[in-house]
Symmetry: C2
Subunit: 385 residues, 2 copies
């Protein structure tokens, strides 16, 4: 399986590199530099003993001071926190589920004053990372636990599904819940529920599945026992929504109706992992849909199947195709009881063919050799009122 | 003066239009719909009396219900709030200065784990709007007061300056202070200070000047007495930093060294005002600077002079030119005592010509007729450590 990589929750090159935040650092050589060091940096510092310790160069102490100052400013907890007043987060439900209060900000909404899908995806990433943050398990990376860092492992997402029942609006206060569960023997599932604080209604549901990959070999890995011991106490079985028979997304061929070619990542599209952020993928996918369609329909569900990562030097092509016939056939023929909840709802909507539309998507890397798939996607759209 | 328009704080088309958030609305026709209405919507509702009231169509009640539900979910205060627990904001210093606790989120940082300039600008916009939000003055628009809405006025920014002493890092807790003051007879100044909560150090300072524009005629307006009465009690004279002799930014000609042409706004670049967001301008400006330079230098100060707005159908050109000679001449010749604080610091830095670089920028709309300036900019960059 060459399912690979997403940037939402997995560290790559950053997890072992010194944070470079390019600021003026004080050159303190008084020993305080190492006191606050944790994890890898500390063990590296501790391995210097006796005479060696005395000849640590001023330069390396400066380096350690930088790491220390960064850590001090970040203040990543080393033990489980039940409350994080700054992130407005609490641990609920048996001490394992995370809930964060979030207000939709002015720059997170589009022209219609509702949150953009990009903002929603960003909030999913943010609350997932904050869950790991308050757990005390966060290693020196982008969501990886201490045990993962020691084993040189990173998280890679293989599948993600987001369902937007109603778009949050500017200034709306929301509660975002997120939690994790087992997914097969070596995987992890992460779910989210976003509720309006005022109405109590669920606005957004999302689910995702994750596996581990060795950062050097780029091969998928079994979950080491040390990692299982860290994360399995956090597993609960609730699901944000049912996806009883996960639909396989068929691969679009190059005859796709709409194509955006020659897409090149910009500096600002790269995240902490120095790779193109997941949210950029979704933007590329959706920008390929005709403008006229986007004026009349809003996305209500999106399913993504990740295949491989994309780096800053790749040139990407975004393909999409409306699914009109396929969509109606599939949903009219299927046994509703076996379908997922949205499919059932669509089917029960007598006028669904006008109310809902579907698109199939493909992002691929183009080049001299054969194109390589980055992500397959399927989106379902509801006619705007 | 054809200084025009920015989208950070000013409402245009949205301020009188019904929020379209394209969701399923309950069609309640029980009269509760109008109860929570405020301002214009309420006065419109009140003008319908007696028989007329009884024949209000179900459709218009539905419309009012939508407005009401949106307002209920937004919950914009109609009176001054000293504390906003959701936004983590408080009113300080004589009851007029706003302070908000903010944590730098995972998606607000770049590959180096420090906040992007885009994120910083977004936070300035957000805290400014939240200041108006808690003041109880926010009308049905994007930062406009009730008196402004009644007079059909919007805010337009004419000048903005941001100085980044140190970039916030992922997970850093910050306190953002913002306040307003008088600027001439008809203008308003808004300043910001961003401090690290852990170190107490100032990371970012910013200042801006604003005037009012009639939304229909697009002409600048004097500040009406009703608006002066609303906002002048909030004025304080503190300044985030001194800009004793505001530097005029010279206009680049088309021989500028670096050019990005044919820039077209995307759907996602439009904000609540259906215009290209200010932050997009800055991205266009900075993306024109050579990649190699951006690898070695980080922005430490940016000055923007706004000339006119940009809409979704405009095609934009971004020009920039390094200022090497001009920069050194200017700063070596000037009397330090009259210079601004950064210029003084640069001058006192014996090696400034290597440590700092400057660029002049121009964004303009291209077309059949003569190009029209959107914004002139000047940026100062510090060599990364």
């Amino acid at each position: 399986m060459n399912a690979l990589y997403n940037l939402a929750l997995c560290p790559t090159s950053c997890s072992h590199s010194t944070p470079k935040h390019n600021t003026k650092w004080k050159t303190e050589v008084n020993g305080t530099a190492t006191v606050a060091l944790e994890g890898k940096a500390l063990s590296r510092a501790s391995s210097v003993t006796g005479k060696q310790r005395r000849i640590v160069s001023a330069a390396s102490v400066t380096e350690l001071t930088r790491v220390s100052e960064t850590k001090g400013r970040q203040n990543i907890p080393t033990e489980k926190q039940l409350v994080d007043p700054f992130r407005q987060g609490i641990i609920t439900e048996g001490g394992v589920r995370y809930r964060q209060t979030v207000v939709i900000r002015s720059y997170e909404v589009g022209a219609d004053k509702t949150a953009t899908l990009e903002s929603i995806l960003n909030l999913l990433q943010e609350t997932a990372l904050n869950h790991v943050w308050v757990s005390g398990l966060l290693g020196d990376g982008f969501g990886a636990t201490h045990g993962m860092v020691r084993n040189n492992l990173i998280w890679v997402v293989t599948r993600m599904q987001v369902q937007v029942d109603e778009y949050p609006i500017w200034g709306e206060v929301m509660e975002v819940d997120t939690w994790v569960g087992a997914s097969g023997k070596n995987g992890m599932r992460r779910d989210w529920l976003i509720r309006s604080d005022v109405t109590g209604e669920v606005l957004v549901r999302a689910t995702s599945t994750w596996v581990m990959m060795n950062q050097q070999t780029r091969r998928l890995s079994k979950m080491p026992e040390v990692v299982r011991a860290e994360i399995s106490p956090w597993f609960i079985e609730n699901k944000a929504f049912e996806e009883e028979i996960p639909e396989k997304i068929y691969k679009l061929d190059t005859n796709a109706k709409f194509t955006n070619s020659n897409l090149k990542p910009k500096r600002s599209d790269l995240d902490m992992n120095h790779h193109v952020n997941n949210v950029k993928y979704v933007n590329w996918m959706l920008e390929t849909i005709p403008h006229k369609f986007l004026e009349n329909y809003q996305l209500t569900r999106m399913t993504l199947e990740y295949r491989r990562e994309c780096s800053s030097s790749d040139v990407v092509e975004s393909l999409c195709k409306p699914e009109e016939e396929r969509f109606e056939e599939r949903h009219q023929d299927r046994n509703v009881d076996n379908g997922d909840s949205l499919a059932s709802a669509l089917f029960q909507d007598g006028n669904h063919s006008k109310s809902f539309k579907a698109y199939t998507h493909l992002l691929q890397i183009t080049g001299d050799k054969e194109s390589e798939e980055i992500v397959r996607g399927r989106t379902i759209w509801r006619r705007k009122l």
